[in-house]
Symmetry: C2
Subunit: 281 residues, 2 copies
Amino acid sequence: MAEFTELSRSKSHGGSVVKYRHNSDVLGCAMQFSAFLPPAPGPRPVLFWLSGLTCTEDNFIQKAGALKKAAELGLLLVCPDTSPRGLGIEGEDESWDFGTGAGFYLDATAEKWKRYRMFSYITKELPELVRTHFPVDPARASISGHSMGGLGSLVCALRNPGMFRSISAFAPISNPIQCPWGVKAFTGYLGDNKAAWKDWDPSELAAKYEGPPISILVDQGSEDSFLHQKQLLPEALETAVAGNDRLNLQLRIQDGYDHSYFFIQTFIDGHLEFHARALST
Amino acid sequence: MAEFTELSRSKSHGGSVVKYRHNSDVLGCAMQFSAFLPPAPGPRPVLFWLSGLTCTEDNFIQKAGALKKAAELGLLLVCPDTSPRGLGIEGEDESWDFGTGAGFYLDATAEKWKRYRMFSYITKELPELVRTHFPVDPARASISGHSMGGLGSLVCALRNPGMFRSISAFAPISNPIQCPWGVKAFTGYLGDNKAAWKDWDPSELAAKYEGPPISILVDQGSEDSFLHQKQLLPEALETAVAGNDRLNLQLRIQDGYDHSYFFIQTFIDGHLEFHARALST
């Protein structure tokens, strides 16, 4: 049995915020994640939250103001870290948008980065840990995330038809093969074969998706500096989904909001309610 | 006119989270504070929040999950830092519970620490800045805080009868002259004359308070390690208030909660509603 340690536990809103550490077979290093265990008894539906560049397992659970509504809805939240850590790869800590804290939720193929396999970690190893250690209903899972984590929520769900009941994102990197962050990361993790990049691009995946119908909720602030820098490109996702009647996208441009957790705080309750509806049956 | 600079602004819950920097005449250094400006128009009531040891102007505004309710109630929040910074006093950065980040909301008398005057900053300079720069109703102010900041909210209000309409605190240091944190801080800031210490002790001040009647709401987690270490001593406050019919204390022991912001998150809405009632007329 792999090591699985509880690092801290705080009561909150009648439930518990708990941080865990475990040895990841997929990534080959110790990993941490945070969870919110709601007070409701019995097998709970689970929402996976994927954070953005530079974040850890702490950001969402501390700053999103999501726990009151999650307790009320009986949603179990799982918030993993954003990359492997401490693998000792040359240059892993040099950039804030590549390497440590910037795993991009893909499985790298470049030899140097081959242990960066956050996609497999999020979609295989982590759900298995959750099923083993928590009172969840494995048939009821949804996924959400912010920025790079919004990319992750879309990629993980669209590549695994049927695994998640609903998808949401705040300011997702929607078309990484066309933006500076994505080109840098994909060049590093996947190499120069751009045809392979499309397998990790939410808009490319949305155009080709052939799984069961699924709803996607996206909030995007109009004053998000990364939107203006064309890192996010939500219009590409909108165009891709328009051509695929298996996907139902609600893209809301929120006037005056930026890229911060103050934006996420404002709309998180609506996302939790969106997922709870999809998870209720 | 003193320098007063807006450092950042994010829209949240229809209002704005803003961080400011200004030169403090009282403290003799640059100071920062955060504010939440609710969407409601017109002169707003204001709630001052005082944070605990090691905190800055960021902790509450980022982690308390208070903004949704503050927006709904139309409360303007002001969250100052916890000490002067960068004064260059020998030893100011050596302890986490004394010096930088640990001003204890008093006016120091020891020569070495004479620029540590957080009490005057919070009760004179900061309210004046707030009145000058924000659409507040100066007659409607309340005060709250956490741990050392709970001590601060009680001391600032009890020493200034009529300045605040209501007082609340999460896990306040209620009787510092009897606990290790308080004895260390008061010895440093005030010297060895223990008679003078009583002027900065919430329980001592509560026993002697002769101002207009005022209500105090205190939440205390039963699993707070600092409660068990006898740093907080809420029973001393309870005893002092029991002998003073001008003070109405509701002390709630919250079963299973600790000292963290996950505890504050759980009960903050009730504190904001408590203050909004006192500020509504």
